[in-house]
Symmetry: D2
Amino acid sequence: MSGNSFGVLFRVASFGESHGPALGAVLDGCPPGIELEPAIIQKELDRRRPAQSEVATSRAETDQVEILSGVFEGRTTGTPIALLIKNLDADPSAYENLRNVFRPGHADYTYLQKYGIRDHRGGGRASGRETAARVAAGAVAKQVLRGFGVSVRAATVQVGEIQAREFDENAMDDNPLRCPDRGAAEKMLELVLKAREEGDSLGGIVEVRAKGVPAGLGEPVFGKLDAELASALMGIGAVKGVEIGDGFLVAERRGTENLDPFINEGGRIHTRYNRAGGILGGISTGEDIILRVAVKPTSSIPREQESVDQAGRDTKIRIKGRHDPCICPRLVPVAEAMVALVLCDQILRHRGQCGTGLKKGFDK
Amino acid sequence: MSGNSFGVLFRVASFGESHGPALGAVLDGCPPGIELEPAIIQKELDRRRPAQSEVATSRAETDQVEILSGVFEGRTTGTPIALLIKNLDADPSAYENLRNVFRPGHADYTYLQKYGIRDHRGGGRASGRETAARVAAGAVAKQVLRGFGVSVRAATVQVGEIQAREFDENAMDDNPLRCPDRGAAEKMLELVLKAREEGDSLGGIVEVRAKGVPAGLGEPVFGKLDAELASALMGIGAVKGVEIGDGFLVAERRGTENLDPFINEGGRIHTRYNRAGGILGGISTGEDIILRVAVKPTSSIPREQESVDQAGRDTKIRIKGRHDPCICPRLVPVAEAMVALVLCDQILRHRGQCGTGLKKGFDK
Amino acid sequence: MSGNSFGVLFRVASFGESHGPALGAVLDGCPPGIELEPAIIQKELDRRRPAQSEVATSRAETDQVEILSGVFEGRTTGTPIALLIKNLDADPSAYENLRNVFRPGHADYTYLQKYGIRDHRGGGRASGRETAARVAAGAVAKQVLRGFGVSVRAATVQVGEIQAREFDENAMDDNPLRCPDRGAAEKMLELVLKAREEGDSLGGIVEVRAKGVPAGLGEPVFGKLDAELASALMGIGAVKGVEIGDGFLVAERRGTENLDPFINEGGRIHTRYNRAGGILGGISTGEDIILRVAVKPTSSIPREQESVDQAGRDTKIRIKGRHDPCICPRLVPVAEAMVALVLCDQILRHRGQCGTGLKKGFDK
Amino acid sequence: MSGNSFGVLFRVASFGESHGPALGAVLDGCPPGIELEPAIIQKELDRRRPAQSEVATSRAETDQVEILSGVFEGRTTGTPIALLIKNLDADPSAYENLRNVFRPGHADYTYLQKYGIRDHRGGGRASGRETAARVAAGAVAKQVLRGFGVSVRAATVQVGEIQAREFDENAMDDNPLRCPDRGAAEKMLELVLKAREEGDSLGGIVEVRAKGVPAGLGEPVFGKLDAELASALMGIGAVKGVEIGDGFLVAERRGTENLDPFINEGGRIHTRYNRAGGILGGISTGEDIILRVAVKPTSSIPREQESVDQAGRDTKIRIKGRHDPCICPRLVPVAEAMVALVLCDQILRHRGQCGTGLKKGFDK
C-alpha cells in the first residue's frame, strides 16, 4: 500500500476527484476465469451511492460503472481490469467560496501543505466520493473471494450511544442505517433524523465480519493479516479507531479472563470463544474475522464554523454542499470493500508462497 | 509492507527466531551521511531487553547489536545496513513439551496451518523476541528523524483499570511500567506484582506521541499516514486495537461536539484541540501525532490451560518458559520503533515526490 | 515492475486490449505543480499513432487522450493522473479466424497457457497497441524530467543491414523511419517498401539517448539504472536484445582497449570516451546515457504460415489485419517513453533517499 | 527490484561491502517445507569463490555460509532465511592509496556523486564481492526451482574472439573458464594466461540456459519474463548487453527468415526453432530459455591509468589489489543465481494469480 496503490499480487490503482470528470480503478493481478460483468459491481456501488435514503446526501449520482478492459466474454482474462465511473452531478460552483479557506476536520489544509496546490472542489481527491472506486474494486475482490468460499459483511452497530444487540444479516439491508438489529435501527434512525434537523451529525461504530476465511492467511511481522486490515480500515475517511475481536476491552482484562482454549469440534480445531477475532499471530485461525471501526460525526455540518483562510486570516465559513448526517451506513460497503481487498490479496499471496496444501478452501 | 518486509523507500527486512542463532534486520534505502554507531542502537535495544525489572521475563539476553554493513567511519553510506543480534540464552529444551500442542492465544496453530511446518521453540518467528529486530531498525529510523526535528515517545497509560492522568516525559523512564504519571505508576506496579504472584497477567494501553512532524506527511487513499501507523501498531503481538486522536470516543459524539477549528497562532496554523491526533485526510497537520493501542494480557500464564494437540486430542498444558506479567512496558520501545519506521519512510517518500517546498523541516 | 504496474515512487498502472473499449494508464506519485494538458501528451501519442506513413499499419485510430483526474487548472495536483484513450477503429471480426489458432511469433499460445483464457482479438493485451498507454504515461514522465533538465530521444539506427552513420536530432523527424541520418534514411525506406511489396518485414536497431541526466541516479545491486533501463526496453514487444554504451563490442576487447579515464574539463568531471554509455556501477556518470535495442522483423507478414490450433492440429494461417513492415519507427516513441519512466522514477527515488545535495540538477 | 531489494513474492534483501565485516542476504517469502542446509548453498558459493584457479584473483576467502534463521530441522519454515558470509581476508590497506581517487571503469565516482560519501575499500558495496550474497540467495532459489523441475546452467561461450561451438553441460566444470566446449576452452585459457602475463584483461560472453520452465511464466507489459531477466543480468557488474534467443541477429533478418512455427510433437506444442529463446509476449513457451550477456574486460588491470582525484586534479593510479584477468568464469554462477531468482519469484507469482491449472509442473 502506498499512495493510491494497494496490494502485492491483487493490485489496485485508484484515481479520481469529487468534481472531476470521473473516478475509477485499475485492478492488476486478478485471477483469470472469474465471472464478471458490470451488474456484479453495480450492485455494490448501488449500496454506496448517495441519495438513497433520508439519512444520506442528496447528490444525484447514478455511479454507473463501465468495464474498460480485462474481461472477455464474461470472464476475467488475468490482465488489468479498468473500472470507470463518470461524475455526472458534479457541481463545483457550490465550493467556489471555499477556494481559499480550510474546512475544519477536512483535508484542505493538509493537502495544500503537502502538494502546494489543491483541488478545492468538494475536497477533490480527499472527498468521500473517492470511495466509489474502492467499492468497485472491492466488488471484484468479493467475486474472487466467493470462489474461495469467503464472504464479507459489515453493519452499523452503534450510532451515538445506541448499540445494536445482535448481528442479524437479514436485518441489515432493511433499514437505512444498515443496522443488524431492527429494534436498535429504529432508535438510531430517530436520532439521526433529529440530528439532521438540528444541523448536527453523529458518530458511530461499524462492524465488519468475514466468514469462511480458511486458517493460514496472513504473514509474519509486517504482513500480518490484522495489521493489513487495520490499515485498510483506518484508511477510510472519518475512521478514528480500529479494533479486532474483543479489542479495547482486553486492556482491562486479566490473563485468566482472556483465555480462549483450542477445542476439537467434529474433527475441526476451533478457539472456544474467538476472543481474538479470527487472527492469532497475524494469521487467520479459520474462525470469523471480526473488526470494529470508530466513525467520527460528519465534519460538514450546516453551521457557521470558525477557520482561517490561506492567507492565515480568521474567517467564518458555512458549508453548503450536500452531506450525510451520519456517515456509518454509507461507510458499510466501503469497509466491506477494504476488507475484501486485503483478504483477496492475502489469499493469492498465500497460494503463491505456500501452494495448495491447506486443509480447506485453497484447492481452486 | 508484506511478509517480513517493510517500507517503500526506507525498507526493512527482518529475520530471526526466538531460539535460533540470531535475529536482525537489513535496512535498505537509509539516507547517507547520518551518524550511526552501535551505541545509538544499543540504547534502544536496552530499553526493550528482557530481565530488566521485576515485571519482566528473566531470560538473560544482552541483545548486543553488531552493524555488519552500510556504515563507514561513523556515517551511513546509503547502502544497506545489516544489524545482527545473536541469541545467547536460547533454551529450546524448555519448549520440548510444546512440540505437538497448540498454546492458546499464540500462533502455534496458525503457523502450522499456514506453512505445514513450525519451529515450536518459544513460538519461533512469532515470539515477542522478534521485536528486537524492529527496535534495532527503529533506532536507525529515529536517528534519521532526529535530523528532521522529529521525535517519538511512547508510554504505558493504562494497566488494568488504572489510568495515567498526565503524559510527563520525564516520568516515563523512572518506573518499570514506563508510565508517564508517577502516581499511577506506583499503583500499576502494585497491581502487576500482585497479578504475577497470582500466576496471572494484565492488559493495558500504550500511547505513542510523535512531535515535530511537519505538516504534509502521508499520502491519499491507501498510503494514508494514519493507515500506515495503524498497520505498524496492530502488527505488534498482543495489540488488539489502535486509535488516533480522540479515537473511539468520537463514536458517541455529535458533529458540534467534535469541531476543531483552524487557528492562526503567531503565523503558524494549528487546529485548536488536535482532536484528530495530528492527521487529517491521511496527511499530517503539524500537530503532535497521538495514537493509543490496546494490549492484551500475556497469554503465557503459569496456569494449567486446556488445549488440543496436533492430532486433535484434548490436552492440558502448563507453560513454563519465562514471561512478562504485563507486556506494556516492553511494548513501549517497540511501538516507538514502529511509528518511527513509518514516519521515516513517509518523510523520504514525501521528499521524493514533492521535493523541498514545505514550510518546515524538509530542507535537509 | 510487476504485471502491468511500474515504478516505486512514480507508479504507472496500465490497462487495455487492442480491440476492447479503451486503453490507458493511471499515474500515481507524480510530483505536484507540473504543467500538464492533453496537448502535451497528444504530441507524443501522435508520434506513435498508426496510419501515419507508407511504412505503418493503416488502422485508423486517432488516439485522443483524455485526462480524467490529477490535474487542476493546468497543473498536476500530486494525486493520480488517469489517462484514457478510446479504441475507435477496433475491428475484431478480422481476427475471428484466429480464435482457435496460435500465430507464430506472437503471445497467443503463451497467454492461453498462462491464463487458460485469451482475448484473441488482435492479440488482446499482447498487442502493440498497448504501447499507446506507455507513450501517454511516458509523456508525463518527460514533462517531469524537463523540469530537471533531462531529455530523451530515440531513433532508428539500423534497418536490415543499413546503418545510420550519424545521430542528427534534426534529421529524425524528417523521414518515416525516424532515422537520424538522412542518407541512410532514404536507403532504409527503399528497403522497407520493397519488403512490404514482397509481403515481408525487416528487423532493425533503435538507439535511445538521454541527455542532461545528473550524476548519481541509480541504486546498487538490484536497482541499478542500467538494469532498470534494460528491463524497460526488453519489455517492449519485438525487442530481443539491449545493450548500453559499447555493448556487445566489449566482448572482444582487451582491458587496455576499453580504458576510459576520468578527466576534468572546466571543473566538471567526465569520462573521456563515455564507453560505458553514461552509467558506472549502476549509477549515472552525468554523461549521455546511450542504449540500443535489437528489434525483430514483424511476425505478422501476409504469407501463409504453418502453426497448430488449440486442439493441437497442424494448420495453415494467413494473417490479414493491418501491420507494419518494419516496427522500428513506431518503436521509437515507445522506447523514449520507457526510458523516461525509469529516469523519472529514479530521480524521485534519489531525491527521496539522498535529498538535494547533488552538484547538478536536483535542487528543484 | 529497487535498491538492494529484489522480488515480489520471493524477496531478497542483500547487504555487505567488500572489506566490511560480512556480506549476506535475507530471503523473505520462500516456500515452506523445502530441504535446505548450508552445504546446498556452499556448493554454489564454492563455484563463485575467488582463488580457485590460475585465472582468478588470489584473495583467500573461504566464503563459508551460515543460515541464521528460517530453517528448522533441515527444512524451510516459510519465515525469512538469513544467510551470512563473513569477510575473513579483508585487506583495506591495499586500497588506502585509492581513498581520494576515482578508478576508471569503476563506481567510485558515481557512488560519491550519489551519496556524498563512499567506502573506498575495494569498491565497497560496488565490489564484485557483493555477488557472493546473490549466489547464496540464488542457491535457495535453485533449490525451490528443483521442486518444479526447473534447472539453470550458465557457461562462458566466448572470450575475446574465441567462441564455443557447443553447449556441453558435462564440459563446463572441467575447465577454469567454465566453457561448454573443451576445444575452445583450451584456446581461451591460453589467451587469458597471455593477457594476464601482459597485465591485460579480456571480455567475453556468458550464456545462460534454463530448462524445464513450464509454459506460462511471466506477466504482461512491465512484468514480462524477458524484461525481468534482462534486468537481473544487466545488473551484474561488467555486463554491458543482454540478448535472448537469436538476440541482435534479428536486426538483420527478414520476417520470412525469422519464422518459427508452432508444431505438435507427441501431444506437446513446441516452436520449431526456439528462435525466441523460450519467451513470447513476455511469457514462457515451455522451450529452453536462452540468454547471453556481454561481459567487459576487467577494468582493474595492473597498468598505470590516468584519472582524477576528488579535488579534480589529474592523477595517475596503479591498481594493486587482486583481480581476475577475465571475469567470465566467475560471472557464470552469478548469472545462474540471478536467473534463478527471477524464475523463482515468477513461478510463485504465477501460482498466486493463476493457481494450479497449468498443464505442466505447477501442481506442487
